[in-house]
């Protein structure tokens, strides 16, 4: 059978890939995508722990349901903001959006 640690390794790798994406992606939507990757990594974690550590309680899986719900909400908000940015800045490249500094 597949031990718990493999799942955790998978989620850790996905989490780091997402993180790398957030650091390097220039377009806001790119960052959004990477965030989704990180979120999925966490969900895997939750479900894996639910199965191995607390097999008879459903807390883990229910948590994932809620995280997906929240992910949906935050994507809606994120995209609304990105559209507003595009409307004002005419670009969604994050390193060009720095009117405010120091």
């Amino acid at each position: 059978m597949i031990p718990l640690s493999h799942y955790l390794i998978l989620s850790a790798i996905l989490f780091s890939i997402g993180l790398y994406g957030v650091f390097t992606r220039r377009s806001a939507i790119g960052i959004l995508l990477s965030l989704e990757i990180m979120l999925n990594a966490v969900n895997i974690n939750f479900v894996a722990f639910a199965k191995f550590m607390a097999p008879h309680s459903l807390a883990g899986q229910i948590f994932v349901i809620f995280t997906i719900g929240v992910a949906a909400a935050s994507t809606v908000v994120g995209l609304a903001i990105i559209v507003a940015i595009y409307h004002n800045y005419k670009t969604i490249f994050v390193d060009e959006i720095d009117v405010m500094k120091w």
Binding site: L19, F23, V94, V99, K101, W102
Partner: protein
Amino acid sequence: MVNYAYLIPLFPLAAFVVNVFWGRRLKSKSAPVAILAMLGSLVISCLILKEVISGKTLEQSIEWFKVGRYSFEAGFLVDSLSAMMLCVVTLVGLLVEVYSIGYMHGDARYHLFFAYLSLFIFSMLGLVLSNNLIQTYIFWELVGVCSYLLISFWFEKKSAADAGKKAFITNRIGDAGFFLGLSTLFYYLGTANFAQISQRLAHHPEGLSQGVLALSAVLIFCGAVGKSAQFPLHVWLPDAMEGPTPVSALIHAATMVAAGVYLVARSYAVFAAGHLSLEVVSYIGIITSFMAGSIALVQTDIKRILAYSTVSQLGYMMIALGTGGYSAGVFHLMTHAFFKALLFLCAGSVIHACGVQDIRQMGGLFGKMKVTATTCLIGCLAISGVPPLSGFWSKDEILVSVYNSGNMVLYGLTLTVAFMTAFYMFRLLFLTFFGKPREKLHIHKPAPTMDWPLIILAIFSIFSGFVGSPLMGHAFSNFIYFHPEHIEPNYMVMVSSIIVGLAGITLAWVFYILSPGIPAALARNFSPVYNLLLNKYWIDEIYDRFIIRPFLRLTKFAFSFDRYLIDGAVNLTGTSCVAVSRVKGWIDKYIVDGLVNLIALMVGALGEVFRRLQTGLIQNYILLIFTGVIAIVILLRFV
């Protein structure tokens, strides 16, 4: 009558208050107010003197204030010494005030003059009456202030203002020493009262070593040096001649300068206990008198000559006190008060009459000013120690005490000073009153009110000597003494002093009447000595270069030190200036303002670093966060 002694200083104080507040309205009537007050004090003083002669002394004091276990009291002590001084001060004060009516006639601040004069006499009387060192110190400084006010009376003249300032500061230096001596005594003996001091010194208390006693005596003497213009601090007296002449007569001849001698006399117990201190007094005395005497030989300003002669005579008194001649010193103090006041007032009349102070421009005034000339002659005779005038007796007493002290060098020097005194006094006399008038001077007769005081003083100069002379059985020394001593007249000393006096007079006669060319010739071939004396041993210049100028430079340095160093180290306001570079002017002031901004600079620079961190790029932020997280994890893994 003795217990009314406290009234004596109150009269002049009342006069002062009247003259200050209502003087403007009194106009010329402010003089009689002062004179009346002075008369009152004189009468009481004489009555008290009569009672004191009959053996009655009194000390009364009330508690001024109490701090911890020390109680400071204020009170008055009437004994032979103070009674004598009271009479001298009030008498001379009265005569000077009468004289001033004429002299100060028409001055804009006429009433103020008499107000300051009464204030001075009040503080002098207070000083003489006080029964403890602290009260003496208080009146001591008051006297200093009055002399400052009177010297710079004609303050429009810059020289007068400078002279006043110089006098006050020099006195202040002396007073600092006096204060230290006072506090040492107070610390070790627990009291400042003269009687208790001598009592406690008698059964020499533990803890008070000889060294400390001598030190406190010298410190008190330091106050006397400042006030009586002895050697290191004598520079202020010649400049004090800037003040009106009656002021010089009263203050710089009779009373204030004598206060130093009075103080040494009053606290003689302290001096006597410490054996070293008396030597110091006499050495300072001899140096001062010899130096001042020599300077007076070549001076040309009439008042400067008399000033240096006063300094020299005070040196004389110090020598007397130094060599144990307690009553001799005090006796000379009294007689000197009379004839020196007389000489100053004569000089005043001369200046008042011909408006000029340089004796080389005067000459042949005998014919025009008979009274002034004759009284001046009497004064000169008295001071030169020509018998039977008072000067002879008191100087003789001093010479005897110096002779008895066994120090022959000292005796020799004192004799030469006597010779010099006789010489320069008669030089002054011949140049001003005899010989041909050198310049066309318009002379207007001095007013009668200026002549009468001269005559009275002349009489006193003649007869005041007999009190202490053998003819009246040394009445004076039996009256005022530290411990009863029997002096038998030493005829050899008496003869030598007469010879010396006459020699001085004849030499002056030869130099200035017989052949006026000699002094100029002498001056030429002894020019270095002549210049040395003319420039008053360059003491003023030395003081200026080695003390005053470096001192001022030090204050400038202290101020710049203050602004740049300390101010720089603490001041925080420079912070914003580093970041806000636009306001250029503002920054120069802060950067210039110094080290305090250093901290401000660092704080500002640090602020700048954090500010730059805020790049505005979202990804830098997220990157920084996770580096932070990683750093924390690493840090705590290993800590």
